[in-house]
């Protein structure tokens, strides 16, 4: 119940600053739509590795929702505000888990930006109905919903671990930017994984980032069969466990180094 209260308070705060969230949403959708224009120039009447203009348009349109709803951006708040500025102290003296407080504080941002994404997607559906392909298999749709929930958990846990690198790094900005580039490349934000060179595709499949955005989107498009869909969910659970263990270790060792001056 108390975490619901935390969620509601944060939702109130986020909704009050919805214009800021709108700008963040525009930041997240601009690149997929720009890349779609690029692919329109490449694929106007051809196909490539099974991707037609219709399927790739669908991919980037769905990427708009997936990017805004599933990708957490908590690492800056954890690193800069909580650890570097010492605000973590107020969480340490509360009878709440820092992970779960941050989780319920992050959800309102994802919900608000996800709702912007759904509105934009609905508008795109009206004007570009022929370019959007979504599976109508109820089993795959249910698995997609499950994959989306797991993807958010995976993204959030990974970003929490990333944010807590600030326990050791004096200036984590450069490190975060490098990790952001790795995520952008291997999560499928630039292009679908099977359009990448073979080496890149193999690396992307070994890393967890594709399971945050790429696989939920292709699952919704119906590009994955049932066994592959179950494998995606399995891999998401695997990576969530891995990052949860890393989080525990990083938290337990990092908190011993933490000092909150003047708090």
């Amino acid at each position: 119940m108390r975490y619901i209260r935390i969620f509601l308070l944060n939702f109130q705060y986020v909704f009050e600053r919805r214009a800021v969230s709108m700008v963040w949403f525009l930041v997240s959708i601009f690149n997929p739509l720009l890349l779609l224009l690029y692919w329109r120039g490449v694929l106007h009447d051809t196909s490539m590795e099974g991707w037609t203009l219709s399927s790739i348009s669908s991919y980037y349109f769905l990427l708009v929702i997936a990017g805004s709803m599933l990708m957490s951006h908590i690492e800056d708040g954890v690193a800069n505000e909580d650890i570097e500025q010492g605000n973590l102290v107020r969480y340490l003296i509360k009878p709440f888990s820092y992970y779960w407080i941050s989780f319920f504080a992050e959800i309102p941002y994802r919900l608000l930006q996800g709702s912007f994404g759904i509105i934009v997607f609905a508008i795109l559906l009206i004007f570009f109905e022929n370019f959007i392909t979504i599976t109508n298999d109820p089993v795959l749709l249910a698995l997609t919903a499950g994959a989306a929930v797991l993807a958010f958990f995976l993204s959030f846990t990974y970003k929490m671990v990333l944010g807590m690198s600030a326990f050791w790094l004096v200036d984590s900005g450069g490190f975060f930017q490098m990790m952001e580039i790795i995520v952008i490349v291997f999560a499928g934000f630039i292009l679908p994984l099977d359009l990448m060179p073979p080496g890149f595709e193999k690396v992307a499949q070994m890393l967890p980032f594709a399971y945050i955005v790429y696989y939920p989107v292709t699952l919704l498009q119906g590009k994955l069969a049932l066994p592959e869909a179950l494998m995606v969910l399995g891999m998401q659970c695997f990576w969530i466990v891995i990052f949860s263990v890393i989080y525990k270790i990083v938290w337990n060792t990092g908190i011993k180094r933490f000092t909150g001056m003047g708090q």
Binding site: R17, A19, V20, V23, W24, L26, V27, F30, N31, L34, L35, L37, Y38, R40, G41, V42, H44, M48, E49, V170, D171, G173, G174, Q177, M178, I181, I184, V185, I190, L191, L195, M196, P197, F200
Partner: protein
């Protein structure tokens, strides 16, 4: 003009002093800029891995476009980005008074006070890559071509600055939009793609982004010998027009500025 030039030299000296005092920040900044430069080349590599031509641009020409983009962005980040970030804070905390009361043009001060020397290494790296690609394409520009190329790059920079300043001036009314700079960063990223991608889009988008599509594409096409007189006239016209617009809009917006002490 001479006075403003000497003031700008002082700004550079002060920025260099700051660099010497906080060297780790400088190294971080250089690292971040070079990583993002590598990312732009990686993006183009991935996008062209399965197709060798896109909308009349060969793969090498697209890499040249990316190199010129990095040179433009390196210079832009060096001269303006840190100032735009500071501008937001000045408006929010009502500190613009300090600039308005000085006997120096406020737009000049706000736009050019800080020089981010950490972005400088990106420029020679980008120009080096551009020179290598020109060598691969068997293109040897003469001194006149290079001077005109430099002039067109400067026009592109003016367009980019004017668009940024026009948008950022709105912070005077919408003080809570502190992430507007991030939005502009993403918009600026569109200049690394050929402007032909917008010709296939809806008319509204094509017109809205038309000035930005000229920033990098026109100088690159000029180097390749593919630019049209129309594009060259357009980049010069837009650079002058948008600069005048940014100036007029700034003057208009200042009437609505309220400081923290006011």
């Amino acid at each position: 003009m001479k006075r403003y030039f000497s003031i700008y030299l002082q700004f550079i000296k002060l920025s260099f002093s700051e660099l010497a005092a906080f060297r780790s920040n400088f190294y971080n900044s250089v690292f971040a800029h070079l990583v993002w430069a590598a990312f732009t080349f990686l993006t183009m590599f991935l996008l062209t891995s399965k197709t060798k031509t896109v909308l009349g641009w060969s793969r090498e020409e697209l890499f040249l476009l990316t190199a010129v983009f990095n040179a433009v962005i390196g210079l832009f980040r060096c001269m303006f980005t840190k100032n735009m970030d500071t501008f937001i804070r000045k408006i929010n905390y009502g500190q613009l008074d300090q600039n308005l009361l000085k006997p120096v043009d406020a737009q000049f001060w706000v736009s050019l006070r800080y020089v981010n020397l950490g972005a400088l290494p990106r420029i020679p790296v980008a120009l080096g890559v551009a020179a290598y690609i020109l060598h691969l394409l068997h293109i040897s520009p003469n001194i006149v071509t290079l001077l005109v190329f430099g002039f067109l790059l400067a026009c592109g920079m003016v367009i980019l600055y004017s668009v940024w300043f026009l948008v950022m001036t709105n912070i005077i009314w919408f003080t809570n939009l502190m992430n507007l700079e991030e939005f502009l960063n993403v918009i600026t990223g569109s200049t690394r793609y050929p402007r032909e991608i917008f010709e296939n889009s809806v008319v509204f988008l094509a017109l809205l982004f038309f000035p930005l599509t000229l920033v990098v594409t026109v100088p690159t096409k000029y180097l390749l010998g593919k630019s049209s007189p129309f594009e060259i006239v357009m980049i010069i016209a837009f650079s002058i027009g948008l600069l005048i617009c940014s100036r007029l809009y700034w003057k208009f917006a200042l009437r609505y500025y309220t400081s923290a002490s006011g």
